[in-house]
């Protein structure tokens, strides 16, 4: 039961993390009316995944292995694009906040409407089909034992609960800190999703080099351990990583993180440690 619990937890964590941060962002910037778009995206992804999974499990036709990997791989890489957009969208807002004019945030959010539905749908739907296939397999197994289904469902429930905790923690942070931490975190989440997508495409034979491993630390970080599960579930850390995955990861993290830091960094770097600017992380509070 514990192994099934960990599978559910791993499959649900990243989606729940991204959605948690997204919701916290909308709440903090007083854009609650856009929350509906997020929930539409989430609902769409969940229902399409469950329906497609049921059709493939119980229907007359299954999905070829290449097709499933290609879907997972392509959705992952598209999701990276959208999460990157989310990172800089939030970073832009943070920059405008340096002037402590909260009203000006509107300009950054206007573009966000339709993209929000897609972003939320991709965050959840990226691995939705695989998760649904796992859950339906567990549902089929209830003839023998209901433990796998209970385990898997509990894992997903804990993933959602962790997402809620992240949301709660994030809304309490001051805005500057919130943008820096969640943005930085999302850069690594997106890089992991990219590496994961590359691996899916390598498995499907669409990209080469599946057997060229850069490192294998699976004896130190077993993928079925709780910490291996958490690392995989949040940052898509894979104990056995191919060279192509590693190169893609570095090629994403280095420029994106640099650009991100440049965007959120306080503009007047010339006077970083004077007494008057010792609290640059709370510009919103500086407003009279």
């Amino acid at each position: 039961m514990f192994a099934n619990f960990l599978i559910g937890l791993r499959e649900g964590l990243e989606a729940s993390l991204v959605v948690g941060i997204l919701v916290a962002y909308l709440v903090k910037t007083d854009r609650r009316e856009l929350l509906a778009k997020v929930w539409i995206g989430v609902g769409l992804a969940v229902s399409v995944s469950l329906a497609a999974g049921a059709l493939l499990t119980f229907g007359p036709r299954g999905l070829s292995f290449e097709a499933q990997e290609a879907i997972g791989g392509v959705l992952s890489i598209v999701a990276v694009g959208f999460v990157t957009w989310m990172i800089f969208w939030m970073a832009r807002t943070s920059r405008q906040l340096k002037g402590a004019l909260e009203g000006r945030m509107d300009t950054a959010i206007v573009a966000g409407g339709g993209s929000l539905v897609v972003l939320a749908a991709l965050a959840v739907g990226r691995e939705g089909l695989e998760t649904a296939l796992f859950l339906w397999a567990a549902a089929k197994a209830t003839d023998n034992s209901s433990q796998p289904l209970i385990g898997g469902a509990l894992g997903l429930a804990v993933a959602v609960a962790l997402g809620i905790l992240i949301y709660r923690g994030a809304v309490r942070m001051d805005l500057g800190k919130f943008f820096r931490w969640t943005g930085g975190l999302l850069v690594f989440v997106a890089a992991g999703v990219l590496a994961y997508g590359i691996h899916d495409l390598q498995e499907a034979g669409i990209l080469p080099g599946i057997a060229n491993k850069a490192f294998d630390v699976s004896s130190t970080i077993p993928p079925d351990s709780w910490y291996g599960t958490l690392l995989k579930g949040t940052f898509n850390f894979s104990a056995t990583t191919t060279w192509l995955q590693l190169v893609a990861w570095v090629a994403y993290v280095v420029p994106v993180l640099t650009l991100f830091i440049l965007t959120v960094r306080p503009k007047k770097a010339a006077t970083p440690r004077t007494a008057t600017s010792q609290n640059p992380s709370t510009p919103a509070h500086a407003a009279p």
């Binding site: 292995f65 573009a111 539905v117 695989e130 567990a138």
Partner: protein
């Protein structure tokens, strides 16, 4: 942006329909049953006729497992099914040409897996 979501959905749907394989091998006696435990990987048959080959992989162990069909070089993945938790059965359908393959169970999701040879005989399809 307005057209993005429907176009994405449509493209995805077309792709899924195009990529479907017949599930009806299920009813045939041809399914290869695989039992993966923590230290063994037992197949009901070490060969199958070419065409659609269905593997019904059951995890009879206590660790999560994966099942692979590999090409003759032992590297290229012909088919794979992941996330087979203890107590679960999941299916893998591959379109197999005649030839020599390897099957592998990966209890604990690590290493090269417990491998054995698998032959696909020429059935004219």
């Amino acid at each position: 942006m307005r057209h993005l979501l429907p176009s994405l959905a449509l493209a995805g749907l077309l792709f899924v329909v195009a990529a479907c394989t017949e599930n009806d091998t299920k009813s045939e006696a041809g399914a290869v049953k695989v039992s993966s435990t923590d230290d063994a990987c037992e197949l009901s048959s070490a060969e199958a006729p070419s065409g659609n080959v269905l593997f019904e992989v059951t995890n009879d162990g206590s660790q999560a497992t994966e099942f692979y069909v590999l090409a003759e070089d032992g590297k290229r993945i012909v088919g794979e099914v992941e996330n087979i938790g203890p107590g679960l059965s999941r299916n893998l359908v591959i379109q197999a040409e005649p030839g020599n393959f390897f099957t592998a169970c990966k209890p604990g999701m690590v290493g090269n897996g417990i491998r054995s040879s698998f032959t696909v005989t020429d059935a004219g399809k």
